[in-house]
């Protein structure tokens, strides 16, 4: 295996390949930073350009776009509160709060470092233990996904000051997700005969509207003179204290991300949510979360990057794409005349190991690219907001259009922008809405798939060992807050 990896590095270190890996991560960085366009869309748009290349080189470059996009997505999440992908929602929560306090540079730096450490760790896992990990991923199926999604949605209740308000936002998100067709049988539901609604409401216009556009509207409203966010140079860098806070968050986030990433049904968004919640659960200062907790940013970014890499494990060993972007990578393999599937590692060893080696290098490139650039990007916020605001609106709408090529998406962005602004005015937190929207189809279809698998018996949630553990966690997260409230009452009485 070491031999194979060394050979992989020999391939990756060829000057031509080195250049294309760099090009890939650079493109990923840029595409990821455009709101609306995530790495998957970027890879699809640039796929035709790789046709002239050797298959290995093309795959290395496309994979570079894939994980480079994870680094790039951080930029918009932190700077303008627009998560380009579902996995960026958690980063936006604390990252943008940090940016408002003038600490955008620190948020971007820790995101880059966290992504780097978790990315390298995940690549090492891909290299060393792909086959056993893949079969572990297969142990997760509909019942486990349902419980994971339920866990996530219940937990959104804790993402704000008042649980009732957060849960209400979550219910609103779930309700929005009902629109379109029933995810399992395709029965039209709540689309009121609008053909545009048949496809349901996608994450991208909601995130762009509810976070990005609403944020701009609220800032425009505040006062005649819009103050730029103060960014002092000394706040740009990470301090020793920051690092001490984040070390273990990065490790935990990376491990959680890897395991969620290898499940073919759950993705980087579930990974970043779970690791963020874990951090807050074990933090000594849970009250800082949501108000610019640097360890929240670190954990979420570490988790989504390692999940992005982990999604390659089912793809390489089973031919099952674990995420939208690994599906595009799979298509690229086919277009370059390589047959993906369980025999890939045996038949195309040179390509697989070259790819793995290239991911080590690509992550190093991204760290080198991002660390010095973080303060520079953060300095973008020194542009007077008056000029920034129309720019954010315009680029968000173009990005939304580019993602689907439909004006319907643009209209949805505007509508959700208004909704998001109203939610801010009425003090309803926005993150639970967006997270619930992402988790809803997973939750609904996996519940129904579970009951089809068990031919109607609910015992399936107890009989499967992993499901049983998750069920306990779900019950605990439902009961714990009630117990806490009762105890508080008792104390008041006593």
């Amino acid at each position: 295996m070491i031999d194979a990896l060394l050979q992989g590095f020999a391939v990756a270190f060829q000057p031509g390949n080195l250049m294309f890996i760099f090009l890939g991560v650079l493109v990923g960085q840029i595409v990821g930073a455009l709101p609306g366009l995530g790495p998957a869309a970027g890879m699809a748009l640039l796929l035709p350009l790789t046709f002239g290349l050797e298959p290995v080189t093309a795959i290395m470059m496309l994979a570079g776009i894939m994980y480079g996009g994870q680094y790039g997505g951080t930029l918009t999440s932190v700077l303008i509160n627009v998560p380009g992908e579902a996995s960026g929602v958690m980063t936006a929560m604390d990252g943008h709060a940090m940016a408002r306090k003038g600490r955008a540079g620190a948020a971007l730096s820790i995101a880059a470092i966290g992504s780097f450490i978790a990315g390298i760790g995940a690549v090492a896992a891909v290299a060393v233990i792909t086959p056993p990990l893949a079969s572990f991923g297969l142990k997760f199926n509909a019942p486990e996904y349902f419980l994971l999604a339920a866990l996530g949605i219940i937990a959104t209740g804790s993402l704000g000051q008042a649980p009732i308000r957060s849960l209400l936002a979550g219910v609103l998100g779930l309700t929005i997700a009902l629109i379109g067709v029933d995810p399992l049988t395709g029965t039209p539901r709540l689309n009121f005969g609008f053909p545009a609604l048949y496809q349901g409401i996608d994450f991208i216009p909601v995130a762009i509207g509810v976070f990005g556009i609403a944020e701009v509207l609220a800032s425009l409203e505040r006062s005649e003179k819009i103050e730029p966010i103060k960014t002092r140079l000394k706040d740009m860098w990470l301090t020793a204290e920051d690092w001490a806070t984040c070390r273990f968050s990065i490790l935990r986030g990376g491990v959680i991300g890897l395991f969620v990433g290898i499940m073919p049904g759950a993705g980087a968004s579930v990974a970043s949510l779970l690791s963020y919640l874990t951090e807050r659960r074990f933090s000594k200062h849970p009250e800082r979360f949501g108000n610019g907790a640097i360890d929240g940013v670190a954990a979420a970014e570490a988790a989504n990057n390692s999940a992005a890499h982990g999604a390659l494990i089912p793809m390489l060993s089973l031919g099952i794409p674990g995420s939208a972007s690994s599906a595009v990578l799979l298509a690229a393999l086919i277009l370059h005349g390589i047959k993906p599937g369980p025999m890939l590692m045996a038949q195309e060893g040179a390509l697989v190991w070259g790819l793995i080696a290239s991911m080590f290098l690509g992550n190093v490139f991204l760290l080198i690219l991002n660390l010095p650039m973080a303060p520079l990007f953060a300095a973008l916020l020194r542009i007077p907001y008056t000029y920034l605001a129309p720019g954010i609106l315009v680029i968000s709408l173009v990005g939304a259009y580019a993602a689907t090529l439909s004006m319907g998406t643009v209209w949805m962005c505007i509508a959700f922008g208004i909704l998001g602004w109203l939610m801010m005015k009425f003090d309803i937190p926005r993150a639970p809405l967006v997270l619930a929207l992402v988790l809803a189809p997973l939750m609904e279809s996996s519940l129904r798939q579970s009951l089809l698998l068990s031919l109607g018996s609910p015992m399936i949630f107890i009989e499967r060992p992993i499901a049983a553990v998750l069920l306990v966690a779900v019950l605990f997260s439902l009961i714990a807050p009630i117990v806490r409230v009762m105890r508080r009452r008792d104390k008041v009485k006593a």
Binding site: L47, P48, P183, Q199, I320, A327, S406, S445, L453
Partner: protein
């Protein structure tokens, strides 16, 4: 408008001169292949391959862009093309959702409105079971499903999609009831099958052979009219041989917007035929164990109409048609 009529008149004049040859006229400017699947889906891969061969082998000089207008069971894509009557620079990729989505949603048939150009690639399917299953052939499965109706489970793609239709055909032919478990994608369905959660799963021949070679699946039948000839696959009997009268293949094709000039349609049909005659295309078919029966224009129209009837019958039977 004037220019267009003039062109048509010109072509008409020429055709009178060369009575036997079909009128052909090349479209001008860049071409969009509209694909209703996301990047990486089979229709996407097929159209990207076609575009690549057309441009690189000099069959078509116009730059071609494959545009994924995915979502809503391909209806984003076909609605886009239906809204461009007469447009010469856009082609719609025909995959089964283009046929089934209107049936399921109760909207007017798409295939009756567009201009059929060609059907040019088909994939046969095989039915797989888990490697440790006691079943050795299709009849064992039929016996199990007859003894306990509904207990044999199939993991497949979206509701009303190819796997669902194939399941429906088998249920009808064998007189059994299966439990169909739809998934958001073919990959997700495969994960469910490989995790050992269900008994049955449909795969294309090349995917299926990969699984069989890796020891993660066992074949029950192929759903073709005749056995394949490749070593390994040749051992797998057809469903018909085993007394279940089902023949079902997945197919893909292209069509133009409504009222496309017949001369342009004929030109495209000719270009697609040229693609299917290249060595690169044939190598691709062989590698993926696909078949390349070619139907153009009126033939394609008849072929698509027949397929639409199959879909309508099966979807009505499984209770999805509106």
């Amino acid at each position: 408008m004037l220019k267009l009529n003039l062109g048509a008149a010109l072509v008409l004049g020429l055709s009178v001169a060369a009575a036997s040859a079909q009128d052909m006229r090349a479209p001008e400017g860049p071409i969009e292949f509209t694909v209703g699947a996301g990047a990486g889906g089979t229709p996407d891969v097929i159209m990207r391959t076609v575009a690549q061969i057309m441009n690189e082998e000099g069959i078509v000089e116009n730059p071609i862009v494959v545009q994924n207008r995915s979502g809503a069971g391909h209806s984003n894509a076909y609605n886009h093309v239906l809204a461009l009557p007469g447009d010469e620079n856009t082609l719609l990729t025909l995959a089964s959702p283009v046929f089934t989505t209107p049936i399921v949603q109760g909207t007017p048939s798409v295939i009756d409105q567009i201009t059929p150009i060609a059907g040019f690639i088909q994939t046969e399917l095989m039915l797989l079971t888990t490697p440790d299953s006691a079943w050795t052939g299709l009849q064992d499965m039929v016996a199990a499903a007859t003894a306990a109706p509904g207990t044999v489970r199939v993991a497949g793609g979206a509701s009303g999609g190819n796997d669902h239709v194939a399941t429906g055909l088998i249920e009808t032919a064998a007189g059994i009831t299966l439990t169909y478990i739809p998934h958001e994608s073919g990959g997700a369905a495969r994960a469910t099958f490989l995790g050992g959660n269900v008994e049955l799963h449909f795969a294309t021949l090349s995917e299926g052979m990969e699984q069989i070679t890796a020891g993660t699946a066992k074949p029950l039948a192929i759903l073709s009219a005749a056995r394949r000839t490749e070593p390994g696959v040749a051992d797998i009997p057809t469903a018909q041989e085993q007394g279940v009268d089902v023949v079902y293949t997945q197919f893909w094709g292209v069509g133009g917007p409504p009222n496309l000039d017949p001369a342009v349609a004929a030109w495209w049909a000719d270009k697609f035929r040229q693609v299917t005659e290249t060595q690169r295309w044939k190598d691709g078919l062989a590698a993926n164990m696909q078949t390349g029966n070619f139907y153009a224009l009126d033939e394609a129209k008849t072929y698509f109409a027949a397929e639409q009837e199959t879909f309508r019958t099966v979807l009505t039977k499984i209770g999805l048609a509106k």
